[in-house]
Each structure stands twice: as structure tokens, then as C-alpha cells.
């Protein structure tokens, strides 16, 4: 059920105003303004950074890391899942390794990556790939295994070849799961990107956070955080829109992810 527009917009808006108001109050009257700049100061810093072009470079660098890393990681996850679905022996072989590596998480590999690749773009790209691969792998494999047997039987009885069963039944049936996995992967990739850039990179939004920290510019630190948040939401919205466009056939609640 979809609530009407005012009901959907007013409560979050109200809550955001309360948070901003409290922030403003605390920053003005209680905290050290150097440590906790007011929303207004952060806004000014944000406009300033966007205006002088630095921020744009940082955004582009981060999106470059993300695009490359996510493409590689999600691609590997997707291909491995398809191979595992096709060749059961492969799944048996790699499953223990996957289960071992998955909970480690990308961030634990930062020291390894820095020593291995040196500070630069390779570190975030590597870690984003690592983080992005697992959620989409797991979701896709589950989706392919979970294909309703009755649909396969129906396809066979209608004369579909083995190949057509895979392309016309298994793939579309798994697609909502694939897209849900893609979204989870993006969330992990985004977090890995910030963490990896923070310590292992010489460009990107995460690196810039570290930079402003060194100069004790809390207003700019927070401006960058705002940008990271907004871009993260935008990227997620993009994937959600993609899902809606591609699997609009699916009743909304059956693949809510």
C-alpha cells in the first residue's frame, strides 16, 4: 500500500527539521564551534567547495573507483554464480572459501592492499571489487537455485530446449534476486570505497576527508560527508529505478529487497 504524498513526505521532513534544529542549537550554544560547526557553516563550506572545483574532482575520482571496482566485483560475482548454477561441482568446490572470505569484509583487507599495491587508486578499486562480489554472488545463486520447478516443467512441456529453459526461464526468474543482490553489493561497495580512500588512496572523497582532517577543517569534513551521503542515496535510487524498469512484472511485495 502506498500512502498519499503528504503522509509520505511530511513526517520525514519534520524529523529532518528537528535533527537540523537540534544540531544548530547544540552547535550554537553548547559545543566548541571548531569541533561542531553549525549546519549553516557546513552549507557555506559545501557551496564553497563545489564552487572552486575541488569537490568535483573528488567526486569524479570516487565515481571512477566505484565504477571500475563495482563493475569488476559485481561482474565476477554474477559470472561465478551463473557458473555455479550450471556446474554443481564448482559450487561445492568454492563454497567453503566463499563462506570464509565473505564475513571478513573489505575493510579488513586495507592494510594488505596498501602493502600490496601502494597508496593509489588500485587500493579502493581492489577493495570495492572484493566487497561488491559477495552479495550479488550469494543472491544470484539463491535466485537460480530457487526457480520454481513448476515453471521449468511448464517450459519443458511447451517444448523449450535446455538452452531456452536457461535463457527464458531460469534467467528471468532469477532476475529480481540478481537486482536485489546488485543493490546490496552497491551498499557494501560504497562503504568500502570511503574506507579505502580514507587511508589507501591519493584521490577521491574519502581521501579528501582525511585531508581536511589534517587541516582541522571540520566544516569541510562534514560537507564531504554530506556529499557522500547524497551520492549514496542517488546511486541506490538509480538501481531501484533500474529494478522497476526491468522487473516491473514482479508484484511489488514478492521481491521487496
Amino acid at each position: 500500500m502506498r500512502a498519499r504524498l503528504p503522509q509520505r513526505v511530511l513526517p520525514p521532513l519534520g524529523f529532518a527539521l528537528i535533527v537540523l534544529g537540534s544540531w544548530y542549537g547544540v552547535a550554537r550554544h553548547l559545543a566548541n564551534p571548531q569541533l561542531l560547526p553549525s549546519p549553516w557553516t557546513v552549507g557555506v563550506a559545501l557551496v564553497d567547495l563545489l564552487g572552486n572545483g575541488d569537490m568535483v574532482d573528488d567526486i569524479l575520482a570516487s565515481l571512477g573507483h566505484l565504477g571500475l571496482g563495482y563493475g569488476i566485483g559485481a561482474g565476477i560475482g554474477l559470472i561465478m554464480a551463473a557458473l555455479c548454477a550450471r556446474f554443481a561441482a564448482l559450487e561445492t568446490a568454492i563454497d567453503p572459501l566463499v563462506e570464509l572470505l565473505r564475513p571478513i569484509g573489505a575493510i579488513a583487507w586495507i592494510p594488505f592492499a596498501i602493502l600490496m599495491f601502494g597508496v593509489g587508486s588500485t587500493v579502493p578499486v581492489f577493495l570495492i571489487s572484493y566487497g561488491a562480489a559477495f552479495p550479488i554472488f550469494v543472491a544470484t545463486l539463491a535466485g537460480m537455485h530457487g526457480v520454481d520447478r513448476a515453471l521449468l516443467a511448464a517450459g519443458q512441456a511447451l517444448g523449450a530446449s535446455k538452452r531456452m529453459l536457461i535463457t527464458h526461464v531460469v534467467f528471468p526468474a532469477a532476475l529480481p534476486h540478481v537486482l536485489a543482490g546488485a543493490r546490496l553489493s552497491l551498499g557494501v561497495a560504497w562503504a568500502a570505497m570511503v574506507a579505502a580512500e580514507l587511508t589507501g588512496s591519493d584521490s577521491g572523497l574519502g581521501w579528501r576527508l582525511f585531508w581536511y582532517q589534517e587541516f582541522f577543517r571540520m566544516d569541510r569534513v562534514m560537507a564531504v560527508i554530506v556529499v557522500i551521503g547524497v551520492l549514496g542515496v542517488a546511486a541506490d535510487a538509480l538501481l531501484r529505478a533500474l529494478r522497476q524498469a526491468v522487473v516491473g512484472w514482479s508484484p511489488e511485495d514478492s521481491n521487496a529487497a
Binding site: 520454481d148 513448476a150 515453471l151 516443467a153 511448464a154 517450459g155 519443458q156 512441456a157 511447451l158 517444448g159 523449450a160 530446449s161 531456452m164 527464458h168 526461464v169 528471468p172 526468474a173 532476475l175 522487473v247 512484472w249 514482479s250 508484484p251
Partner: protein, 269 residues
């Protein structure tokens, strides 16, 4: 059907399922011949092997003993020559009504223009005009059922295998669909224009209303307990509550009653 070559010939068919908790003998020594254009209903208590019988004929399961011939050829796997309709329809949720119906022709490599023509004809035949572009989840139960029927018909199979195809419908829609099914099958046409139908149902009155013969299965293991000829004239829709039909229903129910009660007791522990 003596004298005619049966479309489906089932001889000494036995099927034992191998399960984790031991083997289940689902069917034993089933003998049944179904002529081209004959409508045969299968009834029996829950668990007597009706669905098993259908999946063996469809080619989803292999016989443990005996054999199934369709048009003289041994069944080895599913084929578009044998259309199947499933109880929960198994429509492809990512395909529209038209694309679901067109799946069989697509699988058989029929050209696009001809596919379109087949789809349009069937959409009209089952009364889904105006709903071609809907997805299954946007349809009512009755419309889904029509769509599944049209999808099966799109291959023009010589044999229709139907496992409780009307069970999920509300009683009124069900009655309407029974007569629709008869019309599409060719109730009003000469017998040589009809297809062979193997129709599993829990509804004894439905079996009597639709079929030429009712096969009554007994359970544990599933065997043919009786075959009842339904000698009512066609078309049947006017005959819904004739005394003759009521007599047949009572006769079949008497054959099943005790076992049906047992089956329910067992299911409840």
C-alpha cells in the same frame, strides 16, 4: 474404444517413488486406453496417485514398471505434443498474457507473424481480449486459468493433460469454466474434431459433467478401482443437474467414500 487405435495406451504401469523416508508405491498395474477425442476424468482419494499418473504420461517421471505409449511411441520426457495444465497454472510471471501464450510456438521456432496470429486467435478463444498486455499477477484467478489453457492450446497438442485445473477457482467461476472448457474442447462439434483429455479432479460432479469415462483410483497403492462410462448426450451444459448425472455421482462417491475418510484421518495424524 475397441477397434480404434488409442491415443494414449497405459499398460501394467507401476510407479514407486524413492523418498528419504523409504519408498512409496504410488501406482500399481494401471491399464488404461484413451482414444483420440476422448475425455477421461480421474478421481480418487487424496494421495492415490492421480498426479503421479499424469506426470508419468507427461514425461516428467519415468515408470518403474510397465509402459506408456502415446500414438504408439514410448514416452521419454516431456513433449509439446502433450500439453500440460498445472493446478496453480505455472504461468511465467515475467511474461504478459500474450507472451505466455506465445511461449510454446516460440519454443517450436514458429515465425513471429504466425506466432502473433496464433496468440490473437487464442486470446479471443479463451475470452481474454483486452488483457493481452497484462502480467499474470494483474489477473483474476479465472483469467489466469484461461491464460494457462490458451498457453497449452497454442501448441495444438494431441493430448491434454490437466491436473486439477479448476481447483483454485471459486465455485461460480468454476462452473463457468467447466462449460468454457467443454466448448473449447469441442463439446458441440463431432467427436473426431476433439482432443484426448486426461483430466484429474477432486470434484466427482465435475468429472461426470465433463467426461466420457471416469476412472476411479484406489489408494495404497494406486490402482484402478472402477471405470464408469458416462453416457450422457453432448453438449452437456444444459444437463447440469439431470437425475442420470446425479445417479452416477452417487455411484462414484460410494466407491470412494470409505477410502477418502481414511485418507483424511491419516493426513490428520
Amino acid at each position: 474404444m475397441e477397434g480404434l487405435i488409442p491415443r494414449i495406451a497405459i499398460t501394467s504401469l507401476g510407479k514407486t517413488w524413492q523418498g528419504r523416508r523409504g519408498d512409496v508405491e504410488a501406482l500399481r498395474d494401471i491399464n488404461l486406453a484413451i482414444g483420440p477425442g476422448e475425455f477421461v476424468a480421474v478421481v480418487g482419494p487424496s494421495g492415490c496417485g492421480k498426479s503421479t499418473l499424469l506426470s508419468v504420461v507427461a514425461g516428467f517421471a519415468t515408470p518403474t514398471s510397465g509402459k506408456v505409449l502415446v500414438d504408439g511411441l514410448s514416452v521419454d520426457g516431456p513433449s509439446p505434443e502433450r500439453g500440460v495444465m498445472f493446478q496453480d497454472y505455472a504461468l511465467f510471471p515475467w511474461r504478459t498474457v500474450a507472451d505466455n501464450i506465445g511461449f510454446g510456438p516460440l519454443a517450436r521456432g514458429v515465425k513471429r507473424a504466425e506466432r502473433l496470429e496464433i496468440t490473437q486467435r487464442l486470446v479471443a478463444l479463451v475470452g481474454l481480449d483486452g488483457f493481452q498486455d497484462r502480467y499474470p499477477h494483474e489477473l483474476s484467478g479465472g483469467m489466469r486459468q484461461r491464460c494457462a489453457l490458451a498457453r497449452m492450446l497454442a501448441n495444438d497438442p494431441a493430448v491434454w493433460l490437466m491436473d486439477e485445473p479448476l481447483a483454485a477457482l471459486d465455485p461460480q467461476t468454476r462452473i463457468v469454466m467447466q462449460d468454457e472448457l467443454l466448448r473449447i474442447w469441442g463439446d458441440e462439434r463431432p467427436a473426431d474434431q476433439r482432443r484426448a483429455v486426461l483430466f484429474v479432479t477432486h470434484g466427482i460432479d465435475e468429472a461426470v459433467h465433463l467426461s466420457d469415462r471416469v476412472v476411479v483410483l484406489a489408494r495404497r497403492p494406486g490402482r484402478v478401482r472402477a471405470v464408469i462410462e458416462v453416457d450422457l448426450p453432448r453438449p452437456r451444459s444444459a444437463l447440469r443437474s439431470s437425475p442420470e448425472a446425479a445417479r452416477l455421482v452417487a455411484e462414484i462417491w460410494a466407491l470412494i467414500r470409505d477410502e477418502a475418510v481414511d485418507a483424511i484421518r491419516e493426513e490428520n495424524g
